[in-house]
């Protein structure tokens, strides 16, 4: 029924096909962005707009404990916030695929099932790189002046490390919520979580109890550690978690991954029940 030989023996090993399947899922994700440039515009538009709004509107009225320019303080926080909001994007794409039957189709095929999730995660990390690059260019244009070199690369790595941890929350939620509309509601949950952190305001300027919560927010650790690595004002802070920002920027995502990666995998396996 086909002029082609469709039964060529599969001579390559499992690992080869796992990587190949993964790459093909990534290609699909990237083709989505190529075919829907408007989506990129939206996705990047929000952080760019935030950088401009908070930088110029709040910038003049804000002060940074220990001195320094608010814009320099704000930028690393904005980068961390964009990474954090990324989980909504992951969840939305996963819930879309699972409700439309695309995940079932993948699972009915002889491909590696884990590639469905791994490919999603890898796509989101690549997109995160693009988001960070564009935001940083905007920030540079606004006068943000980070230190270059290894510190810069380490900061970039920490931001991606946070995004990596949040992929698993996104996948887990995407398989949990019933429809894409519900995934949209996640934004309402995420927004306060980013406000109660050191992203916009240093925790020691908040009421005591709120400052404590904000200091222990995982986003605060990433924001503070990257501020330090970029060589921009870090805002200080007396709490233990604030004194050990670099360590905690590594540990928090590790904890999140340790909790949510197994949850996401279990949720995916439950599809066969």
């Amino acid at each position: 029924m086909s002029a082609l030989d469709l039964t060529a023996p599969d001579r390559r090993g499992r690992l080869y096909w796992l990587l190949a399947d993964c790459w093909n899922v990534v290609r699909r994700g990237l083709t989505h962005y190529r075919r829907q440039p408007v989506n990129i515009a939206w996705q990047l538009g929000f952080p760019i707009l935030s950088v401009l709004l908070y930088g110029y509107v709040f910038g003049s009225a804000m002060r940074v404990p220990g001195g320094g320019d608010y814009k320099d303080f704000l930028m690393p926080g904005m980068f961390a916030m964009t990474m954090a909001f990324g989980f909504i994007n992951t969840a939305t794409l996963v819930v879309y695929d699972s409700t439309k039957g695309v995940i079932d189709r993948f699972r009915s095929m002889p491909m590696a099932a884990s590639a469905v999730v791994a490919g999603r995660g890898l796509t989101d990390l690549l997109v995160a790189c693009a988001e960070l690059a564009i935001m940083m260019l905007t920030a540079l244009a606004m006068g943000w002046r980070p230190d270059g070199g290894w510190g810069f690369l380490a900061a970039f790595g920490l931001l991606l490390w946070l995004r990596f941890a949040l992929i698993w929350i996104g996948v887990w939620l995407g398989l949990l919520v019933p429809n894409p509309e519900a995934a949209g509601g996640l934004f309402a949950v995420a927004f306060p979580l980013t406000m109660i952190s050191s992203i916009f305001v240093a925790p020691q300027l908040m009421p005591d109890w709120l400052g404590w919560v904000a200091a222990w927010n995982p986003l605060s650790s990433t924001a503070a550690a990257t501020r330090d690595l970029f060589g921009t004002p870090a805002g200080g802070g007396e709490a233990w978690v604030e004194q050990h920002a670099l360590l905690m920027a590594g540990v928090w995502p590790l904890i999140l991954t340790a909790v949510f990666l197994p949850l996401a995998v279990r949720r995916f396996q439950r599809l066969s029940r």
Binding site: A3, A20, T31, G101, S108, P110, M111, S272
Partner: protein
């Protein structure tokens, strides 16, 4: 089991207290279309999901294309195609991009995936729309693309889970045409449907499923014989005419007429449908019997169910409660 593309024995699937499948048997001969007919919630989709390795079974045994679905799921997946209730294609990508992506994920490699995509677009009459986004496709086109994606490896067995649900009559016809072509090329098809008409048009054998069990397994004609085939049905304007109408219907039709006095309805089985209908209509008019409505009634899934199980299908009960 030789000569059977699908062989399932005593399948069990429980969700908590609910038994979705409760000792379900199925045997599908190679090279045929086999209909799996039942109302919503009867277990059709559960059966298809087990046979296509998407969910695990709790009991029983199933072989597809000669392979055990529980022990060799990966090997089964290389030999089946699945088209579910939703057109599970990527709506952002074009038709061609969809087929090429699925081809690569079926491990054809880039070049063969491209060639196979072109072949299938041609076969399913989608070449003109190949480079348009699937979001702009009609329901029928989308379902045909879904079918094409299921056919990438030219699988031995194709599962079609309610392939025409939600389609308009024209799109439905297009999908039926594609299914017939596939079978002519040697694919075995297991088709689930809620429509007796669809099973009748496509399937050479039908299994009726209710409450997780197979309650009948027969040819379409065999099933219809059990229900009694087509009937002429007359609804009268006045109660007094009832005895005369029964006499007319009895004279023209082959079978014993049945009456529904509450609704002033008389109906009887016929074989030469149109001739009988014309004859009944003319005779009633000649005798001056007032007729509210007259027509041919084909046995519906509901009739099959009522006859086989003694209860109506869930969907029709819902309709009645709503009405």
């Amino acid at each position: 089991m030789d000569g059977y593309a699908v062989w399932a024995e005593a399948l069990e699937k429980r969700y908590g207290e609910k038994r979705a499948l409760d000792g379900f048997d199925l045997a599908v001969r190679e090279g045929t279309v086999h209909g799996l007919l039942g109302p919503n919630g009867a277990g059709k989709t559960t059966a298809v999901r087990i046979l296509s390795t998407l969910i695990r079974l709790d009991g029983g045994r199933a072989r597809v294309a000669g392979l055990d679905v529980a022990r060799q799921p990966r090997e089964v997946r290389a030999r089946i195609g699945l088209t579910g209730q939703y057109a599970a294609v990527d709506e952002v990508l074009t038709g061609r991009q969809n087929l090429e992506m699925f081809g690569r994920l079926f491990h054809l490699g880039g070049k063969r995936a491209r060639l196979r995509a072109a072949e299938l677009l041609e076969q399913f009459d989608l070449t003109d729309a190949a480079d348009r986004g699937v979001g702009k496709y009609s329901g029928g086109m989308r379902r045909r693309l879904d079918l094409a994606a299921s056919m990438i490896l030219a699988p031995a067995v194709l599962f079609l889970d309610e392939p025409t649900t939600g389609l308009d009559p024209r799109s439905r016809g297009e999908v039926w045409e594609s299914v017939r072509e596939l079978v002519a090329r040697g694919t075995t098809v297991l088709l689930t449907t809620q429509y007796l008409e669809e099973a009748d048009k496509l399937a050479s054998r039908i299994t009726v499923i209710d409450r997780g069990r197979a309650i009948a397994d027969d040819t379409p004609d065999g099933l219809k014989d059990r229900v009694g085939g087509d009937r002429v049905e007359v609804v009268l304007a006045e109660r007094g005419d009832l005895p005369r109408a029964v006499k007319v219907v009895a004279r023209v039709c082959e079978g014993e007429p049945e009456t529904d006095e509450g609704e002033l309805r008389v109906h009887a089985p016929v074989t030469d449908r149109v001739a009988a209908l014309t004859e009944v209509a003319r005779t009633l008019q000649d005798e001056g019997v007032g007729v509210e409505d007259i027509g041919l009634r084909r046995p519906s899934l509901d009739d099959v169910f009522l006859r086989l199980t003694g209860h109506r299908t869930k969907t029709s009960q819902e309709k009645e409660t709503a009405a």
